[in-house]
């Protein structure tokens, strides 16, 4: 049985805007699963449906079910879902700017009934993965660099010791070098700590390199899913997500064929 399974869900915002139209995916324990898709495809919405944060934005799962570890979680309060072991690292590096880096980590362990000692130990573990955070621990998080902020939000996720960590575009706006560093750590979290990862990304190349399984999402549903090995060799994926034509050169965004090919997936 998969750790997480999203079965044919429909999500509506503000009672009228239909954003997810029969979205399904499943994540096996111990895997890294990537979800790729263009802007507005509904990737973030999918994660919010799973974490329960949809409720904070007038969104609602109106059809289908979401199951985690054998428990039906759609409709649950976000606090409960975090306690069950899902942690969403939100898009856009949303650190608590007025808190120090260390306080950000402490706040993230809110659901954990652990002693002071255990708390410090976990903070130590985050610093082990992100030594730079240790140096800045008493600085206000708002003044950290973009890369450090990304490390901090992932570190917050680690504080809750989730079974499933969902990362929303962790590479957004970071230099290629830093993206590499962040992705290496994601792999480490998965291999060393056994955290199952659901990764939403625009950086398809990176995501497909580290993931076991990939989903391609368009317009509120999955249009393609396969092992990453197969996806990397799929012509459409190569063309639209890896930016390669058959000859292996970068394709132009103005390429009209793009839209034609795209349509095929929708039908």
């Amino acid at each position: 049985m998969p750790l997480l399974s999203v079965n044919n869900i429909e999500v509506i915002y503000d009672d009228v805007i239909l954003v997810l139209k029969g979205m399904s995916l499943s994540v096996e324990e111990g895997q890294i699963v990537a979800v790729l898709g263009a802007n507005g495809a509904g990737k973030t919405t999918t994660l919010k449906a799973i974490s329960g944060l949809l409720k904070t934005e007038e969104g609602e799962v109106t059809d289908g079910t979401i199951e985690f570890d054998g428990v039906k979680i759609d409709g649950m309060e976000p606090e409960k879902i975090v306690k069950l072991g899902i942690f969403q690292v939100m898009e856009g590096r949303r650190v608590f700017e007025d808190l120090t880096a260390k306080e950000n980590l402490v706040a993230a362990a809110h659901t954990q009934k652990c002693s002071r000692g255990e708390l410090e130990e976990r903070i130590g573990q985050v610093y082990h993965y992100f030594p730079r955070l240790k140096e800045r621990e008493n600085g206000l998080a708002g003044y950290l660099s973009g890369g450090e902020q990304q490390m901090l939000v992932i570190g917050r996720g680690m504080m809750a010791r989730p079974k499933l960590m969902m990362l929303d575009e962790p590479s957004l706006g970071l230099s290629p070098l830093l993206v590499g560093e962040i992705f290496e750590i994601i792999v480490k979290l998965n291999k060393e700590l056994g955290t199952t990862i659901l990764l939403v990304e625009q950086n398809a190349r990176m995501a497909l390199n580290i993931a076991d399984h990939g989903y391609i999402m368009e317009n509120g549903k999955i249009v393609l899913d396969d092992t990453t090995e197969k996806l990397k060799n799929n012509e459409d994926v190569k063309q639209f997500y890896l930016g390669l034509t058959e000859m292996g050169t970068k394709r132009s965004y103005r390429d009209v064929k793009h839209y034609k090919r795209r349509k095929r997936w929708l039908t």
């Binding site: 904070t56 939100m90 608590f96 306080e103 706040a107």
Partner: protein
């Protein structure tokens, strides 16, 4: 010079109580975005409840003080749960009207229960005997007041800085949705904010009641809070504390030096003159939201 020092010291005493009440107000605003116009009525209720427990019921003062705090906490939680939480998502103006109505109701309840004439803690708890500190004289009751006020301010400053609950409250104030994403219950944080807000005000009421006695004008403390928090910046708890102290000192000094020229009453309006001046020159307060800009 001696008189000036004296005015500063006595101003700081009342200012420390303003600081307590302003801290409660700023806390509620910061975490729930509600401007609580009933803050002064929490002071009123606190003063009357403690006086009633001590003077009328004959409960020892330490116990009376703790029971007062417990009642205030309970009141804060209930008000949040029953009146303010259902207002979440309503327009700001409706929420403000609700707190104004709440203020009126609390005032009438106090009037009905205890009538309006001034009452004093009897037998007196602290002596009025003046102690000499160099050139400054300060009565014992003032010393106790400022001591307790600072004690409570320090306790809460430490609470927000060092405890896990305090840190999650600041997290909610900073970004509600992200706080929720890590399992922090915003509802609980709202309830805690209201109960702390009510509790520190009740402590303020008890302290001032011991200096001047209690009557219905205790609720005016709620008005003094506005210049204090505007001075300190609505979003800043530290700023509210400094604002409260400053207003206490300013009104004392302005009152005593300008009354001769203007025929009295300056002390009562001084804080509001400060308020207007601040709004004109520094609309976000001296310690207002320092949004961190990044490029």
């Amino acid at each position: 010079m001696q008189e000036f020092l004296q005015l500063i010291v006595t101003g700081l005493v009342i200012g420390s109580v303003y600081a307590l009440v302003a801290m409660g107000f700023a806390l509620i605003y910061k975490s729930t975005s509600i401007l609580n116009f009933a803050q002064g009525e929490f002071v009123l209720v606190g003063g009357y409840v403690c006086l009633w427990l001590y003077t009328d019921m004959g409960i020892p003062i330490v116990a009376a003080f703790f029971i007062t705090m417990i009642i205030a906490v309970f009141m804060g939680v209930m008000l949040e749960r029953l009146i303010l939480r259902p207002m979440i998502g309503e327009p700001i103006i409706s929420v403000i009207m609700v707190t104004i109505a709440l203020a009126a109701v609390l005032k009438s309840v106090v009037t009905i229960l205890w009538s309006t004439q001034i009452r004093v803690f009897s037998p007196p708890i602290f002596s009025q005997k003046a102690l000499e500190f160099g050139v400054v004289r300060i009565s014992e009751v003032y010393l106790w007041t400022v001591g307790f006020a600072f004690l409570f301010l320090a306790i809460f400053a430490a609470f927000f800085k060092f405890t896990r609950v305090g840190i999650s409250m600041r997290a909610v104030a900073n970004d509600q949705q992200v706080a929720q994403s890590m399992g922090i219950s915003v509802k609980k944080v709202f309830a805690i904010s209201w109960s702390i807000g009510a509790m520190v005000s009740a402590v303020g009421g008890t302290l001032v009641g011991n200096i001047n006695g209690v009557n219905i004008t205790l609720s005016d403390f709620g008005l003094k809070v506005f210049p204090a928090v505007i001075l300190g910046g609505l979003e800043s708890i530290g700023g509210a504390i400094i604002g409260g102290l400053t207003i206490g000192v300013l009104e004392n000094i302005m009152g005593s030096y300008l009354d001769v020229y203007l025929g009295g009453g300056v002390k009562e309006i001084a804080p509001f003159i400060v308020l207007i001046v601040i709004l004109m020159i520094k609309p976000y307060g001296l310690f207002g939201i320092k949004e961190i800009e990044r490029v």
